[in-house]
Structure formats: structure tokens, C-alpha cells
Symmetry: C2
Subunit: 670 residues, 2 copies
């Protein structure tokens, strides 16, 4: 039985790490976040990292109507982990009203809807701040949950108020509440993919030091070294965010194991205290960079000592920290060096076409440059490709045109829609002509891909990875996991697409992947490809019957004046041209070959298509329905047409357990 958890603030620092741990523990997550201090990018990455879909709603908790929609659309939510909230101590003194509204009123709306939809389990992000300065009780080094609460700032008051609300609401019956009092979360996911991305000037020590280390800030200010502590700087209980995230899973499991109502508080801390100067030393050791620091005056609201007595969580939740300050600093440093500007990457922007529709989010790579790619989760599609500001692809059209999309599980035709594998005959849905084309139903072009995980490994190079969970398909058997990796090189004006697929469940399956972009190199001037000059690596094509025939089209070897010019009606091409022997399931082991060159004299834009694939379908778009016919031509490198039904090539399109299907296509512009 899968249990669905609503995670509020799930795009934030702690929330995103908790989502990773929840998914790893078999929970389904629905995330709401107003993104006021977080980025959807974190969740795009989490989904690729975890290979799990996480529905996302950009919702402010105070918006009853929008939040109601979430509960309506996910009537199977069983529990809520509530991270959402403003959290900067200093800011809370400047704009206390916003803190109360966001944190307190927001929580009340959430509880109201939980009551309405009969969701009982609630894990709440409280804070050690609720204790205030517990050195008012002499002799306490590790603060226990039973310590009277006396927060010293509006942020702490909001947490304290919500705790009180939970205790009062719990007393009215019908609830299971876990109140988790965090100490100081630091570090990042060891993958380096998610971490803390503070907006503006960081409020906390570690993110601040990290920004100094990468050169974003000048020096660290140490707020006071005259506290009554071992080195005069305040002592805190630092806890690795992954440990903290695991604490939430432990608390949720604990609640789910309880038969009766419950409302309990647990410290989530290590029990060990580190001073500011000790953390400074630890972090500089991890990053190997000398960080300038300056001792300045005390900061309002800071207390000298805040270390957890962690035994209650250890005994009851069976949870304790496993990672130390050293691992935290190393993971933080990995995150920071890989993501010096957090989730922001120069030249990368994400937008939603329809407000809030994060399932069809557009991501632009190379934004603002001379070579830009816009891609979408639906079909991991190429929505636009801009060469020197000129759009040269058709963009989204009718579903039957497959424009820009990834094609799978089996691109191109299967004769009769029939194949046999491992001695079994399989029948797919067929088109009017009796064959299956581009899988006919359940084509990848209509599927939601997870991600993308975007990286910028070097200046002007952008990598975006989409993942598809091709599970329980309508026609084919077996489950696949498919990656589509776009690499945009602005300098080289090259777009590289790499496909990989592995079988995750079931028997061997046919596979053949490609991209179905329609190019119109003169799109700014004309509605059709008229005037486009093309040459192919070959004029030999393989037919549905497996025999080769020659097509009247010019090749790289022909004289320059023999170039094939596409006019408004002729030539009509829809053939699978053969450029190499089809031998391997992983074509990327072979050579990357140019297979088609196209240019247009009016726009002066030239395209070279290269691939590791043994053949490519060239289609002059004569049957387009979402666009004017012949408004673009498609070049679809892939395996031989109908290879699944030809014993010579069958193994190149048959994916079995332990194998990996791979292919590569490159579009290069001049």
C-alpha cells in the first residue's frame, strides 16, 4: 500500500531533502510551495534523482481555494508534512505581520482542510528557537523537550503559536501530531544536486561562509565573541539536512504506527554543540579555501547555547543523526561548487505556459545567447530552437505531427503492427494502413518526462536531462526507464541528443527512439521549406520489406550543382535511408556520422545532422496537419524501419534485462 504525503514547502531546503527521503522510503509525495524563497528547479532535480513523479502546486497556504483544489485532486493524501513558512529571525522583527500571516494563518488553513478531508497525520517543522535562551535555567547543556518555551523573536513566536494551536487542536480529538524541533540544519544532499539556496544575503553561518568561499561575499561577520562559551562564540547543534530529512520519515512512520490520537514534541538534533569558530574551522578545512572573517557585535535575539537533548527521538522515533559536521561541510562544499548560484544558472530559465502548469514547464537553455533551445516535459520535446535569434523549428502542433517530440517506445513503422519475441507473437494497435507507426498509441510524444535536471558544466554548455518512467504501457509489455539528454553548445551551435533506455521490469521489448523535430531553416521568411537545399550521406533506403532501393536525391558525393532543392511540392520524401550496418543495441559505441546537410540561401542558415544510428527517416512533411504541408522536414535517425521483424536487425531493437539501448543525434548549425 503506497501512502501519499502532502509536503508543504517541499521545494525548499529541508522540504526537498525530505521529499527525496520519503520517495526513497516508498511514499508518494505531493508538493505545495509558494516558491517565495525556493525554486521549482529543486523538485525538477529531485524527480530525476529519485526517478519518481512528484505533482507540484504553486500555492500559498493562505489561499483556501487553491489549497482545496490540491486536496480535491489528491483525495488519497494520508498525511501532511508541513515545512512551509518564513524562517528568517531578523526579518521576522521587521515584518512580523507577514510572518504571522504566512506561518500561523497558513497553518490554520491547512489544518482546516485536513479536518475537512479527514487527514489526521501531521508532522510540523517547529524550531529549537521556541526554547529561547534556556541558559536561564542553570545547568542545562542539552535542552530537553520539557523545557518551558520562551521564544525571543517573532519567528520563534510563530512556531510557538503553531505548537500551541496543535496542542489545543489535538485536545479536541481526532489528530496525530508530531512537532519536530529542529536545531541547525546544514549540509546538502551528497549528490550535489540539491541544497540550500538562500534568497539574498544568507542569514545562517554555513551558507554565508560558502558564499564567501565562492567569492559571492567578501567576508564572514562573526556576531559576538563575548558569550559565556568555550571560545566566546555561540554554540549550536548542527545537523546534516539528510539526517533531518530522515527524522521526518521516522516521525511520520511513528505517527502511522500509533493507534490513538497523539501530539508529541521531539528535538531533532545531534546533542553535540559546535561554536561559530569551530564551524569556521571545519568548513575551511573542507573547502580548502581561506575565508576572511571579522568579529562584529552581537546580533539581536541570538542566544549563547542551543544544543538538543536528543534522547527522546532516539528512544521513540528510533532516529539519531548519522552524519557529522565534517560530512556536512563536505556535502555543502560539493553543492556550492557545483551550484555557485544555487538553483540559478546563467542562461537557463524555466517558465510555465499556463499559470501553475508545472507538468508542462518550458526550460530555455542558452537564454539570451545566439543559440537557444526551449524544451518541455511533454514528450521531452523541442519547443523551439533559435539560431542567431531565428526560430528554425516548427514547435508544437497536432499530436499526429509529433512535432519536436521524442518518439518511442518504437519509432517508425512496424509492418502489420505485429512482432514476435521470445517465441510469443505480439499485436500492437495499427493505423488505417495496417501498420503501427511511432507506436501508434502511447507514443512518448504525449508522455510526461520528469525533470529536466539542468547543468552548466562550462560556459555556454548546457545539459538538460529528462527521465521517462515508461511503465505499464498500453500496447507494449515491460517497464522501461528512458533518459533524454540534451546538450546545447552555444559556441559550436550544436545540439546533442542522447537517448538511453533500460528495462526495469518484465520481458524483452522492442525499442527504437528518435526525435521528431521539423526544421524550416527559412521559417522567418516562408511558411514552407521551399528553397531548402539538401544532401544526404546516401541515397539508399530500406523498405518495409527489408530490401534496399535507391531514392532520387543528391548525396554528399554528388557535384555541388546537383544538390536537391525542396520546392513547394516536390520531391516528396518519406524514406528510411541507410548509412551503416545495423549491428548494435548501443549505437553510441560506433561512429558519429554526418547524415544530412541542409541549408537555405535566403536565411543563410545551414544544418548538419550527425548520428551514431545506422539509418534515418527523412520526411518532407507532406502530410502535416497542424501546420501547412511541407512547412518543415523531419530527420529521424534511428534503427532500420521494421527491424523488429527482420532477423538480421532484430537484436538492434530488442531490449532485455541488463542491456542498455543508446543512441545519439547531433544538430549542428553554421
Amino acid at each position: 500500500m503506497v501512502s501519499k504525503v502532502l509536503v508543504t514547502g517541499g521545494a525548499g531546503y529541508i522540504g526537498s531533502h525530505a521529499v527525496v527521503e520519503l520517495l526513497a522510503n516508498g511514499y508518494e509525495c505531493v508538493v505545495v510551495d509558494n516558491l517565495s524563497n525556493s525554486s521549482y528547479e529543486s523538485l525538477a532535480r529531485v524527480q530525476v534523482l529519485a526517478k519518481k513523479y512528484v505533482p507540484f502546486y504553486k500555492v500559498d497556504l493562505i489561499d483556501l481555494e487553491a489549497l482545496t483544489k490540491v486536496f480535491e485532486e489528491h483525495s488519497d493524501i494520508e498525511s501532511v508534512i508541513h515545512f512551509a513558512g518564513l524562517k528568517a529571525v531578523g526579518e521576522s522583527s521587521q515584518i512580523p505581520l507577514q510572518y504571522y500571516q504566512n506561518n500561523v494563518s497558513g497553518t490554520l488553513v491547512l489544518l482546516q482542510l485536513m479536518q475537512k478531508y479527514r487527514v489526521k497525520e501531521f508532522v510540523f517543522s517547529s524550531s529549537a528557537t521556541v526554547y529561547g535562551d534556556y541558559t536561564r535555567y542553570p545547568g542545562i547543556i542539552q535542552v530537553p523537550e520539557t523545557c518551558p518555551l520562551q521564544p525571543t523573536n517573532p519567528y520563534g513566536h510563530t512556531k510557538f503559536t503553531i505548537e500551541n494551536i496543535l496542542r489545543d487542536v489535538s485536545a479536541s480529538g481526532g489528530w496525530k501530531f508530531a512537532i519536530l524541533r529542529y536545531f541547525n540544519p546544514i549540509g546538502a544532499h551528497p549528490s550535489g544536486l540539491i541544497g540550500e539556496d538562500p534568497l539574498g544575503i544568507p542569514n545562517n553561518l554555513l551558507p554565508y561562509m560558502a558564499q564567501v568561499a565562492v567569492g559571492r561575499r567578501e567576508k564572514l561577520s562573526v556576531f559576538g565573541n563575548d558569550y559565556d562559551t568555550r571560545d566566546g562564540t555561540p554554540i549550536r547543534d548542527y545537523i546534516h539536512v539528510v539526517d533531518l530529512a530522515k527524522g521526518h520519515v521516522a516521525a511520520l512512520k511513528y505517527l502511522q504506527d500509533q493507534e490513538n490520537d497523539i501530539c508529541e514534541e521531539w528535538n531533532l538534533g545531534s546533542g553535540k554543540g559546535s561554536s561559530v569558530l569551530e564551524m569556521y574551522d571545519a568548513f575551511t578545512r573542507s573547502c580548502g579555501i581561506k575565508i576572511s572573517k571579522e568579529i562584529v557585535g552581537r546580533r539581536n535575539g541570538d542566544v549563547p547555547l542551543l544544543v538538543a537533548k536528543p534522547t527522546k527521538a532516539e528512544l521513540e522515533l528510533n532516529w539519531k543523526t548519522e552524519l557529522g559536521v565534517k560530512e556536512s561541510c563536505e556535502d555543502l562544499w560539493r553543492w556550492v561548487t557545483k551550484n555557485p548560484f544555487g538553483y540559478s544558472q546563467h542562461g537557463v530559465i524555466g517558465t510555465t505556459v499556463h499559470k501553475g502548469d508545472y507538468d508542462n514547464r518550458l526550460v530555455t537553455l542558452g537564454h539570451g545567447s545566439r543559440f537557444q533551445l526551449i524544451i518541455s516535459n511533454r514528450g521531452a520535446s523541442i519547443i523551439d530552437l533559435l539560431v542567431d535569434g531565428q526560430s528554425i523549428v516548427l514547435g508544437p502542433g497536432d499530436p499526429g505531427d509529433y512535432s519536436g517530440a521524442t518518439i518511442g517506445r518504437y519509432a517508425n513503422r512496424i509492418v502489420g503492427g505485429k512482432y514476435d519475441l521470445d517465441g510469443k507473437v505480439h499485436q500492437l494497435t495499427t493505423n488505417d494502413n495496417g501498420n503501427t507507426n511511432h507506436s501508434s498509441v502511447g507514443c512518448y510524444s504525449e508522455k510526461h518526462f520528469l525533470g529536466p535536471l539542468v547543468k552548466t558544466p562550462s560556459k555556454g554548455v548546457f545539459i538538460a536531462e529528462y527521465v521517462l518512467l515508461d511503465e505499464q504501457p498500453r500496447d507494449f509489455q515491460s517497464d522501461l526507464q528512458v533518459s533524454v539528454i540534451y546538450t546545447l553548445d552555444v559556441q559550436a551551435k550544436a545540439l546533442d541528443i542522447q537517448y538511453q533506455a533500460v528495462l526495469t521490469k518484465g520481458e524483452s521489448t522492442p525499442i527504437n527512439l528518435t526525435n521528431h523535430t521539423y526544421f524550416n531553416l527559412n521559417k522567418v521568411n516562408a511558411d514552407t521549406v521551399q528553397g531548402t537545399e539538401i544532401r544526404l550521406a546516401t541515397n539508399k533506403a530500406v523498405g518495409l520489406d527489408g530490401t534496399l532501393h535507391q531514392v532520387d536525391v543528391s548525396t554528399f558525393n554528388d557535384k555541388e550543382e546537383e544538390v536537391t532543392i525542396l520546392d513547394s511540392v516536390e520531391p516528396r520524401i518519406d524514406h528510411c535511408f541507410v548509412v551503416a550496418e545495423s549491428t548494435s543495441l548501443d549505437s553510441t559505441k560506433g561512429k558519429l556520422r554526418p547524415v544530412l546537410r541542409a541549408s537555405h540561401p535566403e536565411s543563410h542558415i545551414s544544418l548538419e545532422v550527425l548520428t551514431t544510428e545506422p539509418s534515418f527517416q527523412l520526411y518532407t512533411g507532406d502530410g502535416l496537419t497542424g501546420f501547412t504541408p511541407r512547412s518543415g522536414f523531419a530527420v529521424e535517425p534511428a534503427r532500420y524501419v521494421n527491424a523488429i521483424n527482420d532477423e538480421r536487425w532484430k537484436k538492434t531493437v530488442t531490449l532485455s534485462q541488463g542491456d542498455a539501448y543508446r543512441s545519439r543525434i547531433v544538430y549542428r548549425f553554421t
Copy 2:
């Protein structure tokens, strides 16, 4: 300079009393209330009592949009007194979430809008409940404001939370906050018009005893007599609600006198404690009724002692209680005996035609009986009159038809629109025919009347009093205060209308008041008055030139067969019939005479119109525009037409300082 105060919860027990005191102190009030535990009736009464208009909005504070509208429409709001909130201690433990949402989230929305609209002054209704059981500090009899807070129930927590919010928000700058910690408000306004009207079973001692005294409850339960107090029952600091209301005015004035930001707490209490049994004795003495009581177990959350140290308010706000327990009990008893079911009166209902339009509220008198009157604030109009369930009046129509409305300041024609008074000639706006009719502009038919104040002095008798502040009129000079009192006697099927007007400011002014209802005794069967049989007290009419002439219409003295029958076109009557000498400004000192009898053979309904007025205009509705011509006839008892321009009658229509204009009309049905 008039200062405008937004009063949230201003229709409630304490709120309505505060509105009275604010108005008495020259403040303007705007009231918002969700009416969840109060009645608009209280404000209808307050307006008649105070003779001041109070705009009302049925708004829940949590509804940002609706509350924004209030601030937009009253951009001159300078301060807020915030009474709105749920307040039952016991209930708060059952539905804590609603308590937090209503009280805390509601306050946050209010503060948000105050910030947006730059309203700084805020007086908050806190509660002595925030102290909790202060006997935990030995030796404190009167609790000072400095006592640490430790409320013991969710209701107290909501007040405590809001206090914390105010202190945090205040620290961010730009606010003036007065936190008033009430002790136990009791009593009612000495007028007996407003008081506490608890929904359901009263939570508090005095309202409960009162309901036992009037027979609505069986007996009083005394919750515990084993407390460590002088007689074993809990001791409270009871404070007369009028004193409490005055404390709010004092606090508001204090805030307004401050130049700087402020956030202070004040106890509002007497400093004197009374036990439950002492209050029982005091109340039974006041009402003279023996009240059954029973000692039962302690109630959850009750503390033994809650008495204010009142000196801070005395010193700083210059406020202290002036009324004692005796006055409180007497005033409570007056309220309860006059209003045994609070604001609910059997046979009386109020409705708004357009949602939230309390300025045009409809009140039905005799609801559910054989004789029902529906009246409206606009023009203090008769909207409907139902005889044995049959509507026999036209109801609202075009403004020019004056249907059902009160007519003033000067009903009927003034020749040339001109008059002279005290040696000065005045020119009014005239109609196309060169005369002024029904004041031509600014007629009372279009004016908003305050109230009504509805009373049910005996079974089947309903009195509704409207008040008009006829100030700064467009055509006339001088300010008037006008009362229109409808008395409906269901048994007698008689509707009595009494008019009174006094001059409140300025020189003498013409006056002539009447009601302009169109009757159609056969309305259920026919669109016109066709077939209505009428007889008048006289057939002599006075013309615009002051001379008498005879009209061809049957009189009471004629033989029965000589009755005048109104047909679809004839007779066309629009004359001022004279039934008595016109001698007095106050016609009610004279005789009430029958002046017209009408009946319809099909509906069998008969109407007799009686009046103390010397004449009446009879109009067969031939010029109706909002209805079919002749769909109703109007009988308008008043002074002689154009009397203001005839020295013989001028004094009967001239209102001077110290005089009172009075008149009376009765419609009687059989």
C-alpha cells in the same frame, strides 16, 4: 474634526454598547460583523437610540476581499476597535481550530489592511482569561497587567496569541495599540434597548440567571462551591457593560493623544470581586424572582479568582467603573423583561433584498399572521401589506410614483414652488407645470431612514420606529429630525402611522408629511382598481387657489346605492378633500376621523382610512409610470394643499424651533 472608527463585532454585546458611547462622544462608526453570534437588530436600535447613521457590513474578517471593500469605501477610517471574535471558553475546547481561525487569522487580515490603508490606532478586546489561574502566585488578590500570562484554554490562547502578535508588530514600528483586558462584563444599556443576547445556552452566569428568571431555563447550575474562596464559589470582577464601553472611548482617546508608537495593556475591571452566590443574591434582589439553583461539579478551565488591579487604567486612561453590581443587575433585568428573547421577536423578521444591503433592509411585522406589514429603510416605505395573505398595495415602483413611501419635507403642491417665511422669499425646484409637488427634489421617499426600532408591547401588536435625519436638504433650509412610527395591530387589522418632526437646526421651515401608498384591494385578481367602491367623508375639495369646490363623488351620507365605483378610466380624481378646519401644527391633539371607505366586491376586502389631518388628497393613479395607470389609488391625509402660501393655514405647515409637527393616519381593514 470628526474621527471615524471601524468597529469590528460592533453588532455584538460589548460592541453595540461601545458604538453608543462612541457616537455620544462625537465619533463616527463603521461596523463590520459576521453576525455569527449577534443580530443586526442591535444596530438598527442603536441608530434610533443615538440618532446617528452607522454603516454596516456583514463581513467575516477572514474575508480579505470583503474587508478591503470596507476600507476602500471608508478611506477616512482613523482607528479600529476590534471586538470581533468567538468567545465561549467551553466551546473553544471543542472547536479550537475555528477559534484560532476566527480570532487569530481574522485579526491578522485586519492588521494587514490597517497597514495597507495606514490606519495606526487599534484598540483590542483582550480578556482577563490571559492571566490564567494567577493564584499560582501567592498573595495576589487584584491581578496587575504585569502578571505573567498563562491562559488555560484555547479561547484564552487566541487572546494571548493576538496580544503577542500586537507586541511583535508594534516593535516593528508605526502602530498605536491598546490591549484591553476585560474582566466580566454584565448588565445592559439603561434604555433597555440593547443588551446581551447569547445564542443558545448562555455560557455566563448573569445571562443564564436572567433566562431562568423569565422562564426560558429551569434552574441555575453553580459550578463548584469547593473553591478556596469566602463562600466556596469562584470570585469574578463584574463590570457594567456601559462602563466597559466607556473604557474603550477612554483608550481610543488616549491613543489619539499619543504622539509616538505605543503598545500597552490595561485591565478594565472594577477591582471588586463578587462570588457566584453573591451575584445570585444581587440579581434575585433586582428582579424580585426566586431563581432555582443547584450546586454541581466544577467546570473545566475555571479559576478561583479573577479580579482586576484597576489602577493603571485609572491613572493613564482616566477611566474607572462608575456603576456597580446593583445597577448592572437592574439594567440587565430591564433589558430581559423588555426583550425576553433578546433581539428575536415573535412575528418580526428582517431580511436584505440584495445580499449585504442593510441600508435597504426589509422588516416584516406580523410575520406569519393574517395581517402583515413589510417596511423598508428607504423612504420608511410600506413595501407590502398583506390582508389574510393577500397583498393589497402596489409596493416599490418608479421614483416618480412615490409608491408606499413617506412624503416630506412638504407633501403635495406648492404653487410656483415659492413661499415666504419670516419675511424671506424661498424658491424651490419646480416641476414642468411650474409647481413643486412632494418637494420635487430630495423627497423623503428616496431618503435613508434609521432603524427601525421594533417593539412588541403586546401579543399581535408591533411598533416600528424609523428616524430620519433630514439635514442639509437640497431645497429647504434648516435641519429636521423626523420620526415615522408604524403600529400594526393584527387583531384589529389596523395599521397606524404617526409622524413627528422637530427642528434641530436653523430657521422655521415648511412641513407637511404623509404616506403615499397605492391601494388595490383586488390586486390578486386584477391589475387595476376597476370595481373598487369608494365613499368619502366629504365631496368638498380645496384648490390650489385656496377656494373650495365640489367633486362628483359619493360621501358617507349618501344612500348606499350612490356609492362611487372606480372603473378602468373613470372617475379620474386628484383632489385635496377637506374634512376639518386646518388649525394646528400638531393634528394629533384633534380627533381621529374616518375620511374614506373603500371596498371591492370580488376580494371582499374593505379599507377604512382614518386621520387626525384636516384634509386628504385622493388620487386614482391615472399618471402612474412604474405600474399600469389606475392600478392603485392613493389616499394622502395631510394639511391643505399649498397651505404654506395661504395666511389662513400657513401656521399649520410652519415648523419652528421648540415646536413639534405631528400627524396620524390609520388604515383599518375588514
